[in-house]
């Protein structure tokens, strides 16, 4: 068996919350249909740009400079996930556990120092 009874119950619980989380606003929108007016107009349907006609549509290529940020995020996010797995049981493994997790964190911190030196942490 892949999953205990309790874990399955947890997943069903999460599912129930997700269902209500989507269904409740959707139901409100549906009920609101009989309450709200609807009179679309040509000007109303234009994108809002402070009263002026849209100067340029946003669907074009431009540089967003997130490459280094996103890459560093992935590195540290994976580090955090691994730390979450080891943190609750850290005490049980004593000094050996502490120092091996410490060595791992030190390695990733070295990566942070490297990124800092390479000016990847600055926002241009």
């Amino acid at each position: 068996m892949l999953m205990s009874q309790r874990d399955a119950g947890d997943l069903i619980f999460i599912l129930g919350f997700a269902l209500v989380g989507v269904a409740a606003p959707a139901a409100l929108l549906f009920i609101g249909r009989w309450l709200r007016p609807s009179s679309p107009g040509k000007v109303k349907m234009e994108p809002y740009e402070c009263g002026l006609p849209q100067a340029s549509p946003p669907r074009r290529l431009f540089r967003i400079r997130y490459y280094a940020f996103a890459l560093l995020f992935v590195i540290f996010d994976v580090e955090t996930v691994l730390l979450f797995a080891s943190a609750p049981v850290l005490k049980r493994f004593g000094a050996a556990g502490l120092w091996s997790v410490g060595a791992f964190v030190a390695l990733v911190t070295l990566a942070l120092v490297y990124a800092w030196r390479m000016h990847l942490l600055e926002w241009e």
Partner: protein, 317 residues
């Protein structure tokens, strides 16, 4: 199976009502606190001291025209508000309010609470991209960059508590605080949690995603009526959830003398909420480069150092 699902739906509907009420109270408090901090009164006309103002606003939003602009990508535009609200409600599931108000004690509750609201980032990006509006797009992109930047120091700050409690379950963490709060044992962790939470909630001084002076309304510029209300609800429900989680994990939740646990829980939660409002109306907005470098150059190193010190002290003292 069906019993569990039914229980879960009942809890979810109950917490939906709690969320709606806390959103109304949150918006009312926000306007009142802002008013009094700026030496004015805030809402006064609807009900005594304007207490029914948010209720009136909610009814007004229900009667507003549902406008979907012509150029938008309809699927993304319609899905985004729902996708923003659902995670906010889902995150309320693992908070141990006070017995018997504990919806579900997940064995990885802390991880769940940190991971689920992150889905909201996707909603913000979808809203920004599908709106076909320059302001929305820039707001959505800024949001995505800021939210993922503060996710890491936020997780690391809670990690110090996980280490001290030796558990990822929010209920166990609460039980370990009968004598001393974790905010006392790891004050730096608590400070980091508050700072990063303000950033995650897009509140001033970190409210760049919707900086109204430069981006109109940010990612929800094109939204109006009920759909806009869902973004607002998601924001304030998330605000309540993050404060309640902070109260439970760092401030001992319902533990306290004399008063019943649920009263202590509400007092601590609203203490955090009012503190964040105080910050919002005191500190001016940061520049985008300051926001981004603060996370990388200050918060992550401090969080790692805090973790290292906590781990070593825990082992040898």
């Amino acid at each position: 199976m069906m019993v569990t699902l039914a229980t879960s739906v009942v809890w979810a509907v109950g917490l939906f009502v709690v969320a709606a009420l806390s959103v109304m109270l949150g918006v009312y408090l926000e306007r009142k606190v802002a008013g009094h901090m700026q030496a004015r009164l805030g809402p006064m006309r609807t009900g005594p001291h304007g207490i029914a103002q948010t209720l009136a606003d909610t009814v007004k939003l229900l009667f507003k025209e549902d406008l979907i602009p012509g150029k938008v990508d309809r699927l993304g535009f319609i899905v985004a508000p729902l996708l923003a609200f659902a995670p906010a409600l889902m995150s309320l599931m693992v908070i141990p309010y006070a017995r018997p108000f504990v919806p579900r004690d997940l064995n990885a509750g802390v991880l769940y609470f940190l991971a689920v609201p992150a889905i909201g980032v996707i909603a913000v990006m979808v809203a920004g991209l599908s709106s076909a509006n320059n302001y929305s797009l820039l707001g959505g992109l800024r949001s995505a960059a800021q939210l993922i930047s503060y996710e890491i120091p936020r997780s690391l700050s809670v990690l110090s508590v996980v280490m001290l409690a030796g558990s990822l379950s929010t209920v166990t963490i609460l039980e370990r605080q009968t004598h001393v709060w974790f905010a006392v044992l790891t004050p730096i962790g608590f400070a980091l949690y508050i700072i990063t939470t303000i950033a995650e909630l897009n509140r001033t001084p970190f409210d760049l995603p919707e900086a109204e002076a430069e981006l109109v309304g940010g990612y929800h510029t094109e939204y109006s009526g009920l759909r806009w209300a869902f973004f607002m609800m998601a924001e304030y429900a998330g605000f309540f959830a993050a404060s309640a989680f902070g109260a439970a994990v760092f401030l001992g939740g319902g533990n306290g003398p004399l008063l019943p646990p649920i009263v202590w829980f509400v007092i601590k939660t609203y203490a955090i909420i009012l503190f964040m409002m105080w910050v919002k109306w005191t500190v001016p907005r940061f520049r985008i480069d300051q926001v981004m470098t603060l996370s990388r150059k200050v918060l992550i190193p401090v969080a790692l150092l805090n973790l290292a010190v906590t781990a070593v002290v825990m082992q040898y003292v």
